[in-house]
């Protein structure tokens, strides 16, 4: 024990750090003001909104969840860059952190505070009622008391998933496609409802018989991996689907989808449909991703912050749909050439139908 004193340990670590990086030069000019000023130095071109603070509280997933927390965080970062606002963020490590974290944001003097995920709706709702002069946003949910200073940001992803379902059905060589979710909650099953309807639409229009595994819209029952973390569960489910001849699979389970991607890559023939972000860019599996169902959380957060900074915040719910491009289908990227033009045309046609209201994608899980 003696030969391994903390002093020795510390000096060892210190030497390591120094050797690696300590030989740089001091900055020519010391920042004169505090750190906030220093940050602003490099962003002189941005609008100066430093009297406006936008804040974000995650759910237990954290900022690196490759799903909606991360998207919201990206939206806020973009807003900081473009508008020069102040910000604060808090990650929740468990459900009981929601209240204290939102409260901490309020105490920090946040003008606009977002809660990410339906689990935060109570915490945000309460804070909104207690602080009528501050603004709040809730992503993927609505606020029970519908306060004047609380804005729900919801996404009618069933519309985009409908298009994805149609594409999947038309591209399937085995006439079998599949989907599964992380946990059976509305913000997940809304994708699956739309996907199911899209597949049905293809069957109807083409008198085809493409079957869907993993979700029964009527019964509201299907396959779920159980959480949003366990990639091996996603892999196992996907291998099941592949064994049942499915060749296009849409996991709606955040990082669990990466397990599905791994299984599909091993399979060689099947394809993946990613959700939330454009998987071609956000994951390493671009070459197997047929397309992605986009849910533009980042854009919605960005827009809401912009309104807030400009003093134009309203409690009017933001509902992302095909019309306002809050949801949509990502480009086909590597599969651009493989997808026949008639399918592409049909997608545009369907998009127009949905926007015009001619076709209504119904889902009991869609935001009301």
């Amino acid at each position: 024990m003696r030969s391994f004193t903390p002093k020795a340990l510390f000096s060892l670590a210190a030497v390591g750090v120094l050797a690696l990086s300590a030989c740089g030069e001091a900055p020519e000019e010391e920042p004169e003001e505090d750190d906030a000023a220093a940050e602003e130095n490099g962003e002189a071109q941005a609008d100066d909104n430093s009297d406006f603070t936008a804040c974000l509280v995650s759910d237990a997933g954290g900022w690196d969840d490759q799903s909606f927390n991360e998207s919201a965080f990206t939206g806020l970062q973009n807003a900081i860059e473009d508008f020069g606002i102040e910000s604060a963020t808090a990650e929740s490590s468990s459900d009981s952190d929601f209240g204290p974290n939102v409260d901490a944001m309020v105490q920090q003097g946040c003008d606009l505070t977002f809660g990410v995920g339906f689990l935060l709706e109570d915490a945000i709702d309460e804070a909104a009622q207690e602080n009528p002069d501050l603004s709040f946003g809730i992503i993927d949910s609505t606020l029970p008391s519908e306060p004047d200073n609380g804005k729900p940001l919801v996404f009618n992803t069933s519309e985009a998933a409908y298009l994805a379902g149609y594409v999947a059905a038309s591209m399937s060589e085995t006439d079998t496609v599949a989907t599964f979710g992380g946990i059976q909650i509305p913000s997940v099953t809304v994708f699956m409802d739309g996907f199911a309807d899209g597949v049905d639409r293809f069957n109807e229009d083409n008198d085809a018989d493409v079957s869907l595994l993993g979700w029964d819209k009527e019964a509201q029952d299907g396959s779920f991996s159980g959480d949003f973390d366990d990639q091996s569960a996603g892999r196992a489910l996907t291998e099941q689907f592949l064994a049942q001849d499915a060749d296009i699979i849409m996991p709606v389970a955040g990082p669990v989808g990466l397990g599905a991607a791994g299984a599909i890559e091993d399979d060689g023939d099947a394809k993946l449909i990613w959700v939330d972000t454009d998987g071609y860019e956000s994951t390493d599996y671009g070459d197997i991703i047929l397309t992605s169902v986009l849910k533009q959380i980042a854009q919605a957060v960005y827009d809401t912050v912009e309104e807030g900074a400009a003093g134009e915040f309203t409690a009017e719910p933001y509902v992302g749909d095909l019309e306002n491009e809050g949801v949509g289908l990502a480009p086909f990227h590597d599969f651009e050439d493989e997808v026949p033009d008639e399918v592409k045309d049909k997608i545009e046609e369907l998009t127009a139908e949905i926007i015009s209201g001619e076709t209504v994608v119904e889902s009991e899980n869609a935001p009301q």
């Binding site: 024990m1 003696r2 391994f4 004193t5 903390p6 670590a13 750090v17 120094l18 990086s21 300590a22 030989c23 740089g24 030069e25 001091a26 900055p27 750190d35 237990a60 604060a88 963020t89 808090a90 990650e91 929740s92 490590s93 468990s94 459900d95 009981s96 952190d97 209240g99 204290p100 974290n101 901490a104 944001m105 105490q107 920090q108 339906f118 689990l119 109570d122 949910s141 946990i183 059976q184 909650i185 509305p186 099953t189 159980g226 009991e364 899980n365």
Partner: protein, 436 residues
């Protein structure tokens, strides 16, 4: 010179031998932990804060910037480091105890009440776990017992309509009962079949988690009319009432925690049942020989421990959360194990450890919000504290404390040590024995 007990033929090459051994080593480790001294505990907290400080420095972008030109202006590095750590830890303190920068006097004292709010479920569940540890049982099932407690309390809380006092009482009792049943399953299995309680309770954690997930999808259960897997809020009449008025979350659960602490002390130190618990924990063979009904006591330990964990879950739900979601237990069940270990399985120790962890949690919120220090640092602090308590020699080496084997220690310790040495002297080197 002990001769082998001559019932070798009873257990011819017991198939569970390796497991049994692992189990007894676990028990030994827990006992060791529970006997570490207060000094070690305090010093562990100090070391953890130092380790936390190093991590804060390592992850702080401003400090990283100054290391880039360390040789050019070393002063920068040290000044920045100092400021970063000062800010982080003062935020931790302000978030946990007293916020001198707060806008109003109410907000200034609010942190300590938040600490207590966080501490309530930790103390209650920690006591439940501690009873198990004192009785030689490693109840890893706090998580499941908390979930069951919260679930029962919540359902009673929103599904029934009862007068004010009775509703709360019924919800609390229901919560305790839920935890007790969950703990009791493990207890009865261990008592009747000798099943390893560690394995059973871990499995019951998973079952509880999925049971709750299933329940939250049943409309008869959640009673919200929405598809979200979250139950209706409990009625006001079933909520643990606030103690300090609006602006504070501190609720009557803290009184419950204090009462439970006193009760557990009485149970373990003054009651005949607690005597049995401790006896089977220290030496089940001697307990059996003295006529104690070991299986019955074993089952009761886990029933009562589970009941306390369930009460913790109920108090958490009825006092702060009000709505039952899949994440209701968070990491409470596992934190409770740490709290019980840190509190050396003593009631007062567990209470204080619960307050400490509650404070770290409350302070972590402010630290993250104001200084951007990741909340994970708090988890690291908790873990390092327990790690160091588990390795007293390390702490002694860091602070150059004498080894208890050495000379500078209390006479009782020396006497103990001498006797151990004498025994070692009597005993030849580890010997294998031959049965005939």
């Amino acid at each position: 010179m002990s001769t082998e007990k001559k019932n070798n033929d009873d257990a011819p090459a017991a198939p569970g031998g390796a497991l049994k051994e692992a189990e007894s080593r676990l028990h030994y480790a827990v006992r060791e932990l529970s006997q570490s001294s207060w000094v070690i505990t305090l010093l562990s907290v100090v070391v953890a804060l130092v380790v936390g400080a190093l991590l804060i420095l390592a992850t702080n972008p401003q400090v990283q910037a100054t290391t880039g030109y360390f040789f050019a202006q070393p002063g920068d590095f040290f000044l920045t480091s100092f400021e970063v750590i000062r800010d982080a830890y003062s935020a931790l303190f302000r978030g946990a105890v007293y916020d001198w920068q707060a806008a109003t006097p109410d907000r200034a004292i609010r942190p300590i009440t938040e600490t207590l709010v966080n501490a309530v479920p930790l103390i209650l569940a920690g006591l439940g776990i501690a009873i198990g540890f004192r009785s030689g049982m490693l109840n890893i099932g706090g998580q499941g017992q908390i979930i069951l407690g919260a679930t029962c309390a919540a359902f009673i809380g929103y599904a029934f309509n009862l007068p004010v006092g009775a509703h709360l009482l019924l919800a609390l009792v229901g919560g305790a009962l839920g935890g007790a049943i969950w703990g009791g399953i493990a207890g009865v299995l261990k008592a009747k079949t000798g099943a390893n309680e560690v394995i059973v309770t871990i499995m019951l954690n998973n079952i509880a988690l999925y049971l709750l997930a299933w329940l939250l999808r049943q409309q008869w259960f959640v009673q919200t009319g929405s598809n979200q897997p979250i139950a209706a809020p409990v009625e006001d009449s079933a909520r643990l009432f606030g103690l300090l008025g609006t602006g504070f979350r501190l609720h009557a659960g803290i009184l419950l925690a204090i009462a439970a602490t006193v009760f557990v002390w009485w149970l373990l130190e003054r009651s005949t049942l607690g005597f049995e618990f401790r006896a089977i924990g220290e030496n089940p063979d001697a307990a059996r020989t003295a006529g104690i009904n070991v299986p019955k006591a074993t089952a009761l330990v886990l029933i009562i421990g589970g009941g306390l964990c369930g009460l913790g879950g109920a108090a958490h739900l009825l006092g702060t959360e009000y709505r039952l979601g899949a994440g209701i237990a968070g990491t409470l069940g596992f934190d409770a194990i740490t709290v019980a270990l840190l509190g050396r399985s003593k009631p007062l120790g567990t209470f204080l450890a619960g307050v400490l962890f509650g404070g770290l949690r409350a302070g972590g919120v402010l630290m993250q919000a104001q200084t951007g220090t990741p909340i994970d640092i708090v988890l690291v602090l908790q873990s390092v504290i327990v790690l160091l308590i588990a390795a007293p020699p390390l702490v002694r080496a860091i602070f150059f404390l004498p080894n208890p084997d050495g000379t500078a220690k209390s006479p009782r310790r020396r006497r103990l040590k001498d006797q151990q040495a004498a025994e070692a002297a009597q005993e030849p080197a580890p010997t294998q024995e031959v049965t005939k």
